[in-house]
């Protein structure tokens, strides 16, 4: 199954459950609290996911390692390499 199909399946399951509860499609006569909780769920979940995404990406950007040492090391190695290669006869 492709990821797209997985998502479509997941969304259909969630939305049918939501529809079932909110509109009482099976005439289950559940206590009204189910309806009250279920009704705003889709929007609520989207908002939660949105906040989670922002927080996660924000955190990851903030903690993205800046490798200053690596860069300096590389610069030093480049110098060494150029000297050595010139000695070995490389014409840049």
């Amino acid at each position: 199954m492709t990821k797209l199909l997985e998502w479509l399946l997941g969304i259909s399951v969630v939305m049918s459950t939501w529809g079932l509860l909110t509109f009482d499609l099976l005439d289950l006569k559940l206590p009204p609290v189910y309806k009250e909780v279920a009704w705003p769920m889709p929007v609520y979940l989207l908002v939660v996911f949105g906040c989670y995404s922002l927080a996660t990406v924000g955190y990851r950007v903030a903690t993205f390692n800046d490798c200053n040492e690596a860069s300096q090391e590389l610069q030093a190695q480049i110098k060494e390499a150029k000297k050595d290669l010139q000695k070995k006869g490389l014409k840049f």
Partner: protein
């Protein structure tokens, strides 16, 4: 010159073939080759460097020939191509000529810190992985010389990729990887995308085919010579590619 007796004798019968597709890397190529020779020399492992030049107008091939004279035709192998073709075909071309049982893919522009090669093959040996991928996003991995915009785009794109594809690897667009040769062969046959997305597809397909994937943190130092590309075009093609992978894998 014939017998390189160092304090490390040959540690195993493994051989690493490094594939370096190049296009206009005249300045970087000698440096990357020097670094590879240095680190592999220190490791004691057998290796070869296969330079796949796509008719670079700046004379990259000529520099490669000089390097071949310096280091020997058994270590520096030239397999140039007639014109600028894709990365995928460069890998296919390279594998055909690779005599090692492991293949290492990396950029020729010094953006990957070569010393991390050691971490890479050590990881593979420890875990017996089918492929080892360098990651900028976890452990000590990181970048240098990136402004906020670039970091934001990178992390955002990676987040989207993780949510949509759940690939089991933290960095999909990186191109610092070690593969078992037959694994690389299988994967390249199955992949259809180009550019950035090709690298992503390789990992996704690897997961699908049940190959084991190890990770090592790498540092990505922004282009030392030359320009880096992350404009609107790249972003659009990345999104198109991501959605294609989402719908087809």
């Amino acid at each position: 010159m014939a017998n390189r007796k160092t304090s490390k004798s040959r540690v195993s019968s493994d051989k690493y073939s490094v594939l370096l597709p190049t296009y206009n890397e005249r300045e970087n190529l000698p440096l990357i080759v020097w670094l590879l020779v240095k680190y592999f020399g220190e490791s004691g492992y057998d290796y070869e460097i296969i330079v796949i030049d796509d008719r670079s107008p700046d004379g990259t091939l000529e520099v490669a020939e000089q390097l071949q004279n310096i280091y020997g035709a058994d270590k520096i192998i030239l397999r140039p191509r007639e014109k600028k073709l894709g990365l995928g075909t460069a890998y296919i071309h390279g594998i055909k000529h690779a005599t090692g049982n492991f293949v290492i893919i990396m950029d020729a522009d010094l953006s990957h810190h070569t010393l991390l090669l050691c971490a890479c093959y050590r990881k593979q040996r420890e875990g017996g992985f089918d492929l080892v991928s360098g990651t900028r996003y976890s452990g000590d991995g990181g970048v240098y010389g990136w402004d906020l915009r670039r970091k934001l785009i990178s992390r955002g794109a990676n987040f989207l990729t993780q949510v949509l594809l759940r690939p089991g690897a933290s960095d999909l667009t990186g191109s610092f990887r070690l593969y078992k040769k037959e694994v690389l062969g299988q994967l390249v046959k199955k992949c259809v995308s180009k550019g950035y997305v090709f690298q992503m597809e390789m990992i996704v397909r690897a997961r699908q085919l049940g190959y084991s994937i190890g990770e090592v943190p790498i540092t990505f130092v922004d282009r030392v010579y030359g320009e880096s590309k992350l404009g609107g075009n790249e972003i659009v093609s990345f999104l198109k590619g991501l959605l294609t992978l989402f719908a087809t894998t």
